[in-house]
């Protein structure tokens, strides 16, 4: 087998794991609350810094800090939704869109002021280590990130399908009024949904920090990626997010090989093309209305 192709495919697979985790929180917030959370990437950035500081200051292993950054961001997300977005949730699109946009620039600005704008990375003793199959390289940290990402996604699926709260969230997404009549507390459920989204963003940030350099402005790209993935896969289910991530990873890895500086532009153009040619996404419901 061609080496470049083999390595490329492995990279696609590893990237799919991370991207799934990046996009899944964004997807449930969009699907259930009908909010495009522009600040999603900023929450990812915060998660990455939580891991970075816990590692740098106290030497806590990056993988062990995942639960900490999840809990922290869960609390932040719950407060943001319960005491801010809940108050304008039924306002026109421009309002919620601009509010999350504003949150993003606030978070980034604060991070830049307090943590400086330069790139940092989490370098552990095992950071550079890996194994190879033939000529194909697989770093341990990326493999671990892949496994954890899929594990968390699986847990989310279990939560949404088998717990009472998960069912309440799904019911709210399908029909708010019916859910309310069934006794679901909407304000709380909305906040819970958003908090789940930010907690998953936090986990994604922690995982990203072990493989890639981080900076306050790293998030915007992940928000756009999450959006592209939702467009490619369609809204409404976790498998759709995985499918979207796989397609996106494929485009990014293989377009990245041939045209380095432009890989984001290419992915974005692909998304716009998909939206235009097939407004229902590769799988999933119609976008209009």
């Amino acid at each position: 087998m061609n080496y470049e192709l083999g390595q490329g495919l492995v990279n696609v697979l590893l990237l799919t794991g991370t991207l799934t985790l990046v996009a899944v929180g964004f997807s449930i917030v969009w699907g259930i609350l009908n909010i495009i959370n522009i600040a999603h990437g900023a929450f990812i950035m915060v998660g990455a810094y939580v891991t970075y500081w816990l590692f740098t200051l106290w030497g806590i292993d990056p993988f062990l800090s995942i639960p900490i950054s999840m809990v922290l961001l869960f609390i932040v997300g719950y407060i943001v939704q319960r005491y801010l977005i809940n108050y304008v949730i039924r306002a026109p699109l421009l309002v919620t869109f601009l509010i999350t946009f504003a949150l993003e620039i606030v978070i980034i600005n604060l991070a830049t002021v307090f943590w400086k704008g330069d790139f940092r990375s989490v370098t552990t003793a095992y950071s550079g280590a890996g194994f190879s199959i033939g000529e194909i390289q697989i770093p341990y940290v990326r493999l671990a990130a892949f496994v954890i990402a899929l594990l968390l996604t699986g847990l989310l699926h279990v939560y949404m399908t088998y717990t009472k709260q998960g069912n309440a969230i799904r019911a709210t997404g399908m029909d708010v009024d019916a859910a309310r009549l069934q006794g679901v507390k909407i304000a709380h459920t909305y906040a819970l949904t958003f908090a789940l989204g930010t907690a998953l963003a936090g986990a994604a940030g922690s995982l990203i920090s072990v493989s890639f350099p981080i900076s306050p402005t790293m998030g915007g790209l992940y928000t756009l990626r999450a959006f592209v993935i939702c467009v490619l896969g369609g809204l409404g289910s976790i498998p759709a997010v995985i499918a979207g991530s796989l397609v996106f990873a494929f485009i990014e890895v293989f377009s990245g090989v041939y045209t380095p500086g432009l890989k984001e532009a290419i992915a974005l153009l692909v998304m716009v093309l998909v939206l235009i040619v097939r407004p229902t996404g590769i799988a999933g419901k119609a976008f209009y209305h």
């Binding site: 304008v88 421009l94 504003a102 949150l103 620039i105 600005n109 974005l268 716009v272 209009y288």
Partner: protein
């Protein structure tokens, strides 16, 4: 003419408010005779922001499409002008036309497919396109100079540079007001508002909605493109991360919203309000580094409490009370 949204400012007390506005414009027109330096620079910045906001108002305010990528037009206007001056050795005014034409052409080519999208999809597609254009400008080094940027010649004679950019930005703002008036009292204006209020009904009543949307998008590109052209020459330097900064999009939207979207004077007044607001905050709280945090907090407060802008309060149409501030929350909370 309710469609112009003029009554938002001048209902009831027409006479003296118009007089006040006239005096204000006159004061702006003669200001460079007295003031210089800092004040000219500040007002030039406000004018450029107002011009962009006037442009955003066409697509976002009157036509109702939440465009989040108008900074792309600003950047293309700046690059088009810079390249025409450097590569084709055009003087500034013909170069400005090249920049504006490039921005409008881009708006039409992009608008035709993208304006078929609605809501979130349109909003994010425009964000994505603006990001992508910035990236292309950064990457395409041979043509755009990449991240090294393009350096433009200084305005000559340099001692009049401040006045020149002041007046040309001021003219652009006035042109924008005229254009708004001209369009909105014609059929095109009616077609824009009809699309905003109900696209299906508009279509059924014989409006070519595609053309309506694309024309609004292209004219908003005209304003942002011209602002970009002036900004680039004024700055004598054009850099991708500077002229494609997403903050500019947010500022033009916020200005429009503050002054009143879908009104003729809203964006112009809003640009001043925005600038005054942010300057006061930075001044009083000594928070230069937190500039963007302030921008963000203002956006959030405006969106939560007065998403229809401040004009209703300033013109006395609505009383500024706690209950009027909470009205938006009451209607839109869970």
């Amino acid at each position: 003419m309710k469609i112009l949204g003029l009554e938002k400012f001048f209902s009831g007390r027409k006479g003296w408010l118009w007089g006040l506005f006239g005096l204000f414009m006159l004061a702006l027109a003669v200001l460079p005779l007295f003031a210089s330096g800092f004040w000219l620079r500040t007002l030039t910045l406000i004018f450029l922001l107002a011009a962009m906001a006037e442009g955003w108002n066409y697509i976002g305010g009157y036509t109702g499409y939440a465009a989040f990528g108008n900074v792309a037009f600003f950047g293309i206007g700046a690059y088009g002008t810079a390249l025409a001056m450097l590569r084709l050795h055009f003087s500034f005014f013909p170069a400005l036309l090249v920049g504006v034409a490039a921005a409008m052409l881009f708006a039409i080519v992009i608008g035709l497919p993208v304006l078929r999208l609605k809501g979130h999809y349109f909003a994010i597609a425009t964000v994505a396109l603006a990001t992508a254009v910035g990236e292309v400008a950064d990457y395409w080094t041979d043509f755009t100079g990449g991240s090294a940027g393009l350096t433009l010649p200084f305005f000559d004679p340099i001692e009049y540079s401040g006045q020149f950019f002041y007046y040309i930005s001021f003219l652009l703002v006035i042109f924008g007001l005229w254009l708004t008036y001209f369009v909105m009292k014609g059929k095109m204006g009616y077609s824009w508002v009809a699309v905003r209020e109900d696209e299906d009904a508009a279509k059924m009543m014989g409006i070519n909605t595609t053309w309506a949307k694309v024309s609004a998008f292209a004219l908003s590109a005209l304003m942002a493109g011209a602002a970009g052209a002036i900004y680039g020459y004024w700055n004598t330097f054009v850099l991708p991360e500077e002229v494609f900064k997403i903050d500019y999009t947010l500022q033009m939207i916020l200005s429009t919203v503050l002054g009143g979207p879908g009104t003729i004077l809203g964006p112009f007044i809003g640009a001043f309000l925005y600038y005054i607001l942010i300057t006061l905050l930075v001044f009083f709280f000594h928070v230069g580094a937190f500039h963007e945090t302030i921008l963000g907090v203002i956006i959030i407060l405006v969106m939560v409490f007065t998403p229809q802008g401040l004009m209703d309060f300033l013109s006395g149409k609505k009383k500024l009370t706690l209950s009027s501030l909470l009205e938006n929350i009451r209607t839109h909370k869970v």
